[in-house]
Every structure is written in C-alpha cells, then in structure tokens.
C-alpha cells in the first residue's frame, strides 16, 4: 500500500470503519462496499441516516450504488482521470483548505528546478530510463531543493516492490527543506500541482471516463462543500483501485485530494482502504511478503550495502521522524528470532537473515514455476489454480512442480487440478505429487485477526476440528519442529539460523474447550505465547521497583529439581495466588532458546522468569535487551494476563471504542490525529473535535490515543540539527515522514512518478486521450509467454472492456463458499453482466449461454442482461463493458467458467499487483466447445439429519448492535 504510505507515512487505512458514521460525505470508489464488506457498510448507512451524502463511482451499478445517493458510471481504468478532475476543480476554484494545506502538507516545499513533469515530456516524468523501464528519482530531480538527491533505497532496487519503503515514505533529508509559504515560487509543490492537473478539466476527464462533465462538477462541489473546518468527507476504496497497473497512483490521487480538502487525520475524514481478505492487514503487518520483515522492516537484499547490520540500518533507517528507531526495531526482531544466540558480537544474527536476490512476489514466482524452474510449493489458504491471475498459467505452473502441499478446508482447485481441470492434460501426464492437509476452520482455532482498520481482535476456539483437520499454526509449528530436529546435529554454518531459531511455543496446559472438555488436539502452539513474542519483552534484569513485584522464589525451584518443579508448577494449586499464576505464565510466555542452558538469577530461579512484557514500542532498545517480533504490534500484550486483543469493553460515549480490541500503532484508532487540531493545537471546530492540546495538563487529550508525542507542545520548533522525533515540529502531524508533512508531491517512495498521471490499462480499447504519446504506464512490467498473451493497444479482436467483481454470496474464488449449498443456491452459476445495447448487438437474450474470450483463454457463462451494466460513449464511439464475477472454477458443488482464466499476468511497478480489474475481451452468443467441469462435491438434499442444536450451545458473541432488542 505505498499509495497511502508515500502520502501519509503508513500504508494502512487511516481511519476506522465506525468513524464513517461521522462523515458528512462519503465517496466510495473502487469498492463495492455493500457487497464485499456488508457488515462495515452499516457505518456509511448510519452516516446517511444522519444526513450525509453517499456517492458511488464505479463501472457497474452494484448493490452499493443502490444504497448511495448518487451514482456515476465510468469506464474501468479511468479512475485517475476522474480523481484528477476533482483535484483540478479544487485547485482552479480555490476550494482547498488553506490553513491546513499550508501547515500540514508539503505544498510550500520547493522541488529541484531540474524536475520535469508529464506535461513537459509527453506523459513521462524526468528521470525515465527506457532500457530498464524505470525511473531514477535522482536523475529526474524529484527531490526537495537543496538536497542532492538520492536514488531508490537498496531494498527497492531492481525488480521487486517497495512495500517496506512505502511505509516509511522516506526522503532522506538531513536538513530542513526550503519552503515558500507565499506559494509564489514556480517550483514549489503547489505550483507543480497546478500545472500537472491543468489538463484534467471536467470535460477532458469526462471524455476519458465516459460520464458527463456535469457529474464530475457535481461530485466536486459535494466534496468541497462537505470539507473544511466544520465538515469532513471520507473516501472508501478497495481492490477496485489496487488491481490496476496504476493502482498505487490512483490511491495517491485520492491522498492528494484528501490533503487539499483537509480531511486527513480528522473524524469522518481519511481514506478507508477496505482489505480483501480476513486478516490480510495482519499478513502485511507480520509480513508474509517476501521483501518485508515483520513491522514493515525491509528484508535485506543481496548487496554490499546490506552486508552488515550497520550498513543496513544506515541505508534503511531515516535520520528524522519515527524511523530513526530503525535499529531498535531490527535488533529486537533478531532477538525474538534467535534468542540468546543473537549477540552483539554476531550482529544479533543479522547475517542469518535470508537476502532478497530478485522479485519473488506471487506473479513472477508463478511465471518461473510455469517455466519449470521450481520444484515444490506450500499453499496455505490460497487457491491460485482458481483465483490466480491467468489461472491457466498458474495451473500450468502447479503441473510442473514435483511436489505441492495444500492445506485447506475443502479440496479446492489447487488440490484437484491434476484430475478435475477440464482444460488440463490427463492426470497420467502430470508428475506433481499433491499432499492435501485438511485445515481447521476459524471457529476451530484461536488467534487474532487484524482487520481493515488495523484492529487486532482475538477469536476463541469454539470446538475441536474434526478428524485430521489441524490449524495452519499447527502445521507451521510442527514443520518448524521437524526442520529443527533435522538440522540439530549439523555443523554446516548455513544451518545455523535454523538451529538458533527460537521455536518454543508449546502450551503449558492442554487447551480447554468452552464446554469444559479438554481438547483432543495435541501439538498446537500456544497462540498467546506467539502474540506475546510479537508484543515483545525485556531481556535484562528487572528494574528495582519491579523486583518487589516478582513472586517469591519457590524453595524447590533449584537447578537439580528444575524439571520436576516445572511439572509441579504446571498444575495449578488451590492456594496459589493470582499473582503467582501470572508470574508462572510469564515465565513460560517468553520463549527460551533451545540451545541456551538454563541460567540462574540471584534467587536461584530461572532467569527467564524476570522477563517483562513491553508496554509499547517506546520501550524498545537497540542493545539486545529487548526482543520484539513485530514492533507495530507492541502494546497488544502489555502485561502478563492482559491480552488487549481479547478486550471487549464498550465505551458508548467514545466513538473510538478504545477498550475494544487493540489497534496498532499503540491503540491509535485514527492515524495522524494531530491534524484534527489546528497548528496551535485547538480543534478546527467544535463539531469535528477529536484530539487537542491541553495547555494546563501540557499534553494532547481527546477521545483517542494521540498519534503524536503526547507531551510535545504545538509551538515546539526543532533546532537546526535535530534528529529523530526531535526534528518533528509540534505542528507537523505526519510523524512517519522525515519532514512531518503530508505529501502532495512524493519525491520518493513511489516508483512510477511523484504525481498521479492517467495511463490507460495495458489492455484498453481506447487510446490515452490525455497523453496521446504514452498509452499505458511506462513502468508496468509484463511477463510475455505463449501462456500469457496480451492484447496490446486497441484491438478489434477484443473490443469489450471486462471488469471482474465480487458477489456477497460467494467468497473469492469460492474455496469457502462453493462447497456450501446454502450459498450456492443463492448464486448457482457463472454469469456475465452486460448492457442491453451489447446484448442487442450480439443477439444475446437474458439467460442465454455466451462465450467470453480474452487473449489468454475463453470461458462459458450465462448472460445477465441488465441496465445496471452500461455501454459508454468514449471519444465519439460506443464502448461496451461487461462484469464478470470471479467466483467459479472446477471444484465444488457448483462449477463453471473461471473469470481468472481470462485475466493477465502483468505487474504494477510498486507492489507487483496485477490488473484483474480491467482487461480486453470479446463476447459471443455460443457455448464453449470442449470438456466442461462437473461438480466435485454433490450437494445433499437435506443438509443434515443431526439433531437440531440446542439453543444454549449457540454461544455466539453478540457485539454491540442495538437493533432488534
């Protein structure tokens, strides 16, 4: 999410969903919120009830549009043109929030005079290198004036994404950037912005989007009249923005708009990024991405610049802003990984971290796999054979593996591709050995989910999974144990990281189910121990005042009797006080490295009993005395026995609900909330009061945790040579940024340009009407092979714009929903939504069978002819658009054409995101000639004959929704 990271500092949704109820106007674009996030959609509905205006802009009239006050249909892939026109309106009508913009954004900062805009260079920024299809910010003079410029960081060089950097969004300035508050300087950001967006007039944008200029002006007026001191507007987006070759820049455009309108960091404002999967936010926080370490630290790359820890910190850390603490984060992470084996002498095991040597994100990996360059793969909770881009290619990849492990609830496409794929070769020709591990579902395991608003919520285990089903955590934990056993006796130095890895999450007690029975599952890790490790703990001796709080040592607790005493202590004795129980848990909470011998403290007890959990990341140290698995999560487990992710205290008077779960960072629900007060620390208005400076208490107060140093006064001004947080002034709310400001112009952190520019999708039936010289994004990466053909440029063969979408009734490619009869009956078949115009042109009737073809493949589906789909007038001709739900494939109770057999493998330059939301296709009235998939699971006529569950067993958390008694 570098779009948000480069603009504001952190790549995550800035506000929380409940806060949408405080908005005066909500612009939903690139999101089908009512269908894809129906539960969260209650908050826009609340806002609507209070009188807010809801706007939906989308290629399709969806269930979201039905509930909004205003709908504007646009062509898929024209988002930047539309948003650019909104920015144009704000600038040309002088509707921007002057005080906010001047104080909190880099509008007045002066950019190097060498910088050339797309307006000057025909759709390209300065610094473009065609041979490497990439930009060099240094050669392009994107930096602030006075700074000698610097190229991309090591971690973002070459072919892989900038996940890490985006979150820092760091321009490496060690001195104060030059500013011109009068905004007269020709190279100040505001004037660059004005020139850049000059051509995005409503008329020009309407030609690109296929809507009317009136609609654009009307929406701009609505946003402007609902922003300012008294009012705030919010923007909601989802994968309808991200899944484009210009996805990051679309989000940047929204960031610019919200900064100009002064909606960032304020209640009812912000940008809500609606995430696509359960806990996908968590998976980026704790990092399942190949180029990130937990907490958005960069995975070191295979380069001399990352050879030593010092080099790495120097290159990745930043001198000013919160990232000055980079060394604390990485050292504490290494201590959590390697325990006592990580010492100052061996750089805390920094050398053991794997180095990135190229792009190993999903798309290039499957491209390589399809070329036969890989042997094995483990799939946990993913279904590339059904849901992957160009799924045909991804299946070809799986077919070329030697072995594949699939852990899932059902036998998904990825588990049965070798026998049930109607387009594949006979199974006798497939060499892949597939191991299927039945997985436990979410009610059969415990743990946290991190949702779209960075909120960690614990869910308890309700019952044991049936049969051999096990949680993913069980699988990974057991795999790790076996690997450690395998390498235990090795003397090869390259096995040292596995030997040194701390891997001790065994539970102290067998798990107890809610009905009081003991779980029959063994070998599960203790998830709370893992969360404690993510939270972090102190390794040093206790502080004097804490020694008193530690429990008295038990007499038997001596060296020779350690194992015995451990087993004795594992059972709770009736006389044992709460404090002792806590202390006992704490002692076991901290993982002790297997290699380390038990050491003793002064009392003769095990030293690890003295470990104290961190109360927040401000307690982190860089000398190896703290361990922390994911610094942004620090504070979720502030003390033994207090798992804040489990907390469910309602605070009806405070909409931020700070005692419900735990939001990173540091339970701040609304990020950059310093901006909810004016530069002097007073609320912008009584109506939009949130966090303000209390001069008497000398601290920031309000409903939420301040996302700012709690006692830094608004009039604080940093000295010339200040470093770290001291360099951030008291009126600079974007503390993750080196200059503390929101970035209208991004001198760094975005690979495809400092400002958003409209480029056509890679496959578009329309030329770029705004920049005729440059059709698609100049930095987009393609993977050409005969399995991944692209219909470049405007093509007569594929004249129809296709857009994939989601239905409420199904989940993603269907691995969780197409095995459920109750969901299948609601949406039983693959269909294509098309306008009556297209249907008439091709002689298609509602419900007819049609074939949809793209350059990658063809599928068969039913026609749903509806006015909700629209054909648009673009540049004087009719362009048809169709919508394809991507929920079907060849495994499950209902099977059908897979929309992802049509999509292409292309990669956005920043995050290697594909362009599933727009591609070119052709639609014909015909059935597909070839083998059709058959259902791999038969629906039972009556779901079950088991006795109807007794009401009292229905232990489901009710939540706080008051309707219906």
């Amino acid at each position: 999410m570098p779009g948000l990271g480069a603009s504001f500092g952190r790549g995550a949704a800035t506000n929380f969903q409940q806060d949408l109820a405080n908005s005066d106007c909500i612009l939903i674009m690139g999101s089908n919120m009512a269908e894809a996030h129906p539960v969260g959609f209650r908050w826009p509905m609340k806002a609507k009830e209070k009188g807010a205006t809801l706007i939906h802009i989308d290629p399709r009239f969806s269930r979201t549009s039905a509930l909004c006050d205003l709908f504007v249909g646009i062509r898929a892939g024209s988002d930047i043109a539309f948003l650019g026109a909104l920015v144009h309106y704000v600038l040309s009508h002088d509707k921007w929030f002057k005080e906010y913009v001047l104080a909190y954004t880099n509008a007045a900062t002066i950019i190097q005079p060498g910088f050339r805009d797309t307006e000057d260079l025909g759709g390209l920024f300065s610094g473009y290198h065609p041979e490497s299809i990439s930009y060099s910010p240094k050669d392009g003079h994107w930096s602030y004036e006075g700074h000698d410029g610097e190229d991309q960081k090591k971690s973002e060089e070459g072919q892989h994404g900038t996940h890490g950097d985006s979150h820092q969004g760091g321009a490496n300035q060690t001195h104060k950037p030059q500013r011109d508050p009068s905004l007269q300087h020709p190279h100040c950001v505001m004037n660059i912005l004005r020139r850049h967006f000059a051509r995005y007039t409503p008329e020009a944008a309407a030609r690109v989007c296929g809507c009317s200029p009136r609609d654009i002006v009307r929406i701009a007026e609505l946003l402007c009249s609902n922003s300012g001191r008294e009012r705030t507007s919010a923007i909601v987006y989802a994968v309808g923005w991200t899944q484009h070759t210009t996805g990051v820049q679309i989000i940047r455009a929204a960031g610019i708009l919200q900064l100009l309108l002064g909606n960032m960091g304020r209640p009812g404002g912000g940008i809500m990024a609606m995430r696509g999967h359960s806990s996908i936010q968590g998976s980026t926080d704790v990092s399942t991405l190949y180029d990130l370490l937990p907490g958005y630290l960069a995975q070191p790359v295979a380069s001399a610049d990352h050879e030593s820890l010092d080099d790495y910190v120097k290159k990745e850390g930043l001198p000013t802003g919160y990232w000055v603490n980079y060394r604390k984060f990485i050292v504490s992470l290494l201590k959590a990984y390697y325990g006592d084996a990580a010492t100052a002498q061996n750089e805390f095991g920094f050398g053991w971290l794997p180095r990135v040597d190229g792009d190993h994100s999903h798309l290039p990996t499957f491209d390589r796999m399809a070329r036969g360059e890989m042997t094995g793969y483990i799939l946990l909770g993913q279904n590339p054979a059904g849901g992957g881009m160009n799924a045909g290619l991804q299946r070809a990849g799986l077919r070329s593996l030697d072995w594949l492990v699939v852990a899932d609830w059902f036998e998904t496409e990825s588990a049965v591709f070798w026998k049930d794929d109607p387009t594949g070769p006979p199974s006798s020709d497939i060499k892949t050995e597939v191991f299927f591990f039945p997985a436990a579902n979410s009610s059969e395991k415990e743990g946290t989910l991190t949702n779209t608003q960075r909120l960690l919520q614990w869910h308890s285990k309700a019952l044991d999974p049936p049969g051999d089903c096990r949680s993913d955590a069980w699988f990974v934990y057991q795999l790790g144990k076996r690997l450690k056993d395998l390498y235990a006796g090795s003397t090869d130095p390259r096995d040292a990281p596995i030997q040194a890895l701390t891997w001790d999450y065994d539970p102290e007690h067998p798990a107890i189910l809610p009905d009081g029975r003991v779980s029959r599952i063994t070998g599960e890790p203790d998830i709370e121990k893992i969360l404690q490790e993510l939270n972090g703990y102190h390794l040093g001796p206790p502080l004097p005042h804490e020694e008193n709080a530690s429990p008295p040592p038990l007499p038997q607790d001596l060296l020779g009797e350690r194992s015995e005493s451990k087993s004795r202590r594992a059972t709770s004795t009736p006389g044992e006080g709460a404090r002792e129980r806590q202390a006992r848990r704490m002692a076991h909470a901290a993982p002790s490295p297997a290699a380390a011998s038990p050491s003793l403290d002064a009392d003769g007890g095990p030293a690890d009993r003295t470990r104290r959990l961190l109360r927040g990341f401000s307690e982190l140290e860089d000398d190896g005395t703290t361990a922390c698995g994911c610094w942004v999560y620090s504070g979720v487990f502030p003390e033994v026995g207090r798992n804040r992710a489990k907390e469910r205290t309602r605070t009806p008077s405070n909409p931020a609900e700070p005692a419900w779960g735990f939001a990173w960072p540091h339970n701040r629900r609304l990020m950059y909330n310093r901006a909810s007060a004016d530069p002097n620390g007073k609320p912008w208005s009584e109506r939009k009061k949130y966090i303000w400076w209390d001069a008497e208490q000398k601290k920031w107060v309000g409903d939420d945790e301040p996302d700012f140093e709690p006692t830094k006064p608004p009039d604080y001004r940093p000295p010339e040579d200040a470093l770290g947080m001291a360099a951030i002034a008291g009126n600079q709310p974007f503390i993750m940024k080196t200059d503390g400001l929101g970035w209208l112009f991004a001198p760094k952190g975005v690979k495809d340009g400092p400002l958003p520019t409209h480029y056509e999708p890679l496959e578009s039936p329309v030329e770029n009407l705004l920049y005729p010289e440059q059709s698609a994004s100049p930095t987009v990466r393609t993977f050409t092979s005969d399995k991944n053909r692209l219909a470049h440029a405007t093509s007569a063969e594929f004249p129809v714009v296709a857009c994939t979408f989601r239905l409420t009734e199904h989940y993603l490619s269907g691995p969780m929903s197409r095995f459920n009869s109750w969901l299948n009956e609601l949406q039983p078949e693959m269909f294509v939504e098309m306008s009556p115009e297209l249907a008439a042109e091709r002689g298609i009737g509602n419900g007819d069978w049609v074939t949809v073809r793209s350059a990658r493949g063809s599928i068969e589906c039913r026609a749903l002819v509806t006015r909700r789909a629209q054909s648009l007038q673009i540049d004087g001709r009719l362009v048809h658009q169709v919508g394809l739900p991507f929920h079907w494939a060849f495994a499950g109770e209902t099977v059908g054409g897979n929309a992802n057999d049509l999509t292409a493998l292309v990669a956005e330059p920043n995050v290697s995101m594909h362009e599933g939301k727009v591609f070119a296709c052709q639609v014909e009235k015909s059935r597909w000639h070839g083998p059709r998939p058959g259902a791999t699971k038969q629906a039972k006529p009556w779901p079950q004959k088991d006795p109807v569950p007794e009401t009292p067993a229905s232990a489901q958390p009710e939540g706080g929704f008051a309707h219906g008694g």
């Binding site: 009719l878 006529p941 706080g960």
Partner: protein, 308 residues
Amino acid sequence: MAVRELELGSVPSQREVKPRRFWSRLFEPFRRGRQPKPQPPTGFYTDTTVCIGCKACEVACKQWNQLPADGFEFTGNSYDNTGKLSAESWRHVKFIEQFTREIEGSPPAPRISLDVVSPPDWSRWLMMSDVCKHCAAAPCQQACPTGAIITNEFANVYIQPDICNGCAYCIAACPFGVITRSHFDGHAHKCTLCYDRQKDGLVPACAKACPTASIQFGTVEELRTRARQRVEKLQASGVQAYLYGDTPTETYSEMNSFYLLVDKPEVYGLPESPFNPWLHLRGDYLRTAIAALAGLALFTIAIVFKGG
C-alpha cells in the same frame, strides 16, 4: 456486554416434568404442558430503504432452522435466485431493477437502438427481504382444519408440523403466497419467527444477521412507533415512503410483520389490498345458513300443509 447466547449456557432447562393429576388427564387427555402466559406481541419491521440485498437473512434462517437448499438454478432475474417463499425458503430477498424507461411504463424493448445511449439516467434498484406477515387474523390459521396452525404466546402464527396433515388449505388461503408444502416431508412450513429462539430470549436469526438493521425485531407496538418516525423522517426528506401492513384495512387485518416501502406494493410483488378469504366465506356461510333455514321452513310448511 449483553450476550444472551453466552448466558444461556448456564440457565437450567425449564421443561415441565411434574406428573399430571388424574382429573386433569381425564378431562384434557391431549394437553401437553401448561399453556404459556401471553407475551407482548412481537414481529418484524422491515425497512426496505436500508436493505443491501446481502441475503444474510436467508442464510441465517436456513442455518438456524436447518432448511435444505432447494436447487441450484440461475433465474436471470436480477440477483434473485431464490424465486419465492416456500417450505424450504422462509426468507426471500427480492430485487427490483427500476430504470427510467420502466418507470415510465414502457418495458425495455428487446432491441434498443444505439442512438439512445447517453449517460444512463440511473434510478433505483430496490431490495426487500420478504417473509411471512404473521397476520393478526391469519387466513391460513382460519383455513387450517386440524388446528396445526396456532397463534402462539407472542402472537406469531406458528405451524405445528407434527399436527399438520398436509391438506394444503393454508397454501390456498394465504394472499401472499408464503406457504408451500415441503417436498421432503409433505407438511406445510413457513417462518416460525424463530419461536425457539424467542422462548430463550433471543432475537430471530434473520434480524440478528442483518448488517444494516433493515430487519428489525421487537414488540409490535415499539416497532410501529419506530417505523412511523422513520416514515416521517423519510417523507420530510422527499422520499415517498409508507408502511405496508401496519394498520388493518377493510379487507385485511394488520400484520405483525410489516414493511416500509417506497413504491407501490405491486412493485414488490405484494397485493395492493390483500383480501381475507374469510370475508368471502362469511357471506357463503350466511347464505348457506339462510338457505338451510329457508329450506327447513319450507319443509315444515310442506309437512304441516300436507298433513293438514
């Protein structure tokens, strides 16, 4: 945190186990248990203006009541693949696509000439979660010959499946087409208003699952007040909203499950003025009785005169 579901685990079962006395058994041989105390009437208020068509109510209903999926059939009728209320589907979300042409009364022509394409004038996509209306005077109950359909202590219309003989009179009697007979067991089934959940103090499954409070559950009195306030508010903002089924008409009783609609009832597939078949029958009974009396009188007169 009010979690009724969690509290229930510790509540002892309150099933009546006391043996009945001889006289009680003699005079009321079929009585099972004690008649429950009447409770304030409960029902549903369905605000169609906030329905997002997510069908969570349909799934929650099927899950709680363990109803079968009744076929995987693509209808092509907007997103409605349920089709109708039936013994297997007690909730049915309707989707009504209304675009300018349709409102003007001309259905979209199968061939639309291309010159009319302009930025389409979008109007509305109405959604409504339909369910049994739980009529205060329910024709199905009036028609039931076995007494299987009762009004329970919450004033909900409830079919006792073990007493239903599958005669299907209720199906013909319901003016809303709510009830059908199950293909699986031959009995009539419909929404029970989650009688079992209500007895435990729980909200019916559909209302519980509804994410936008389109389906609201509560006492009818409270719901009516809430609904009328909502109508006033909507009307003040220019929406043509009204309540359907909240007051009795000349031909039909009020309904405990009523709707806030923004278009004519027919648009939602509801009868504009529902008619209780009993009103027809009332005349028939009267005429039959008069005819019988008249016949009897004629007969008597004939006997008297002939005998005289």
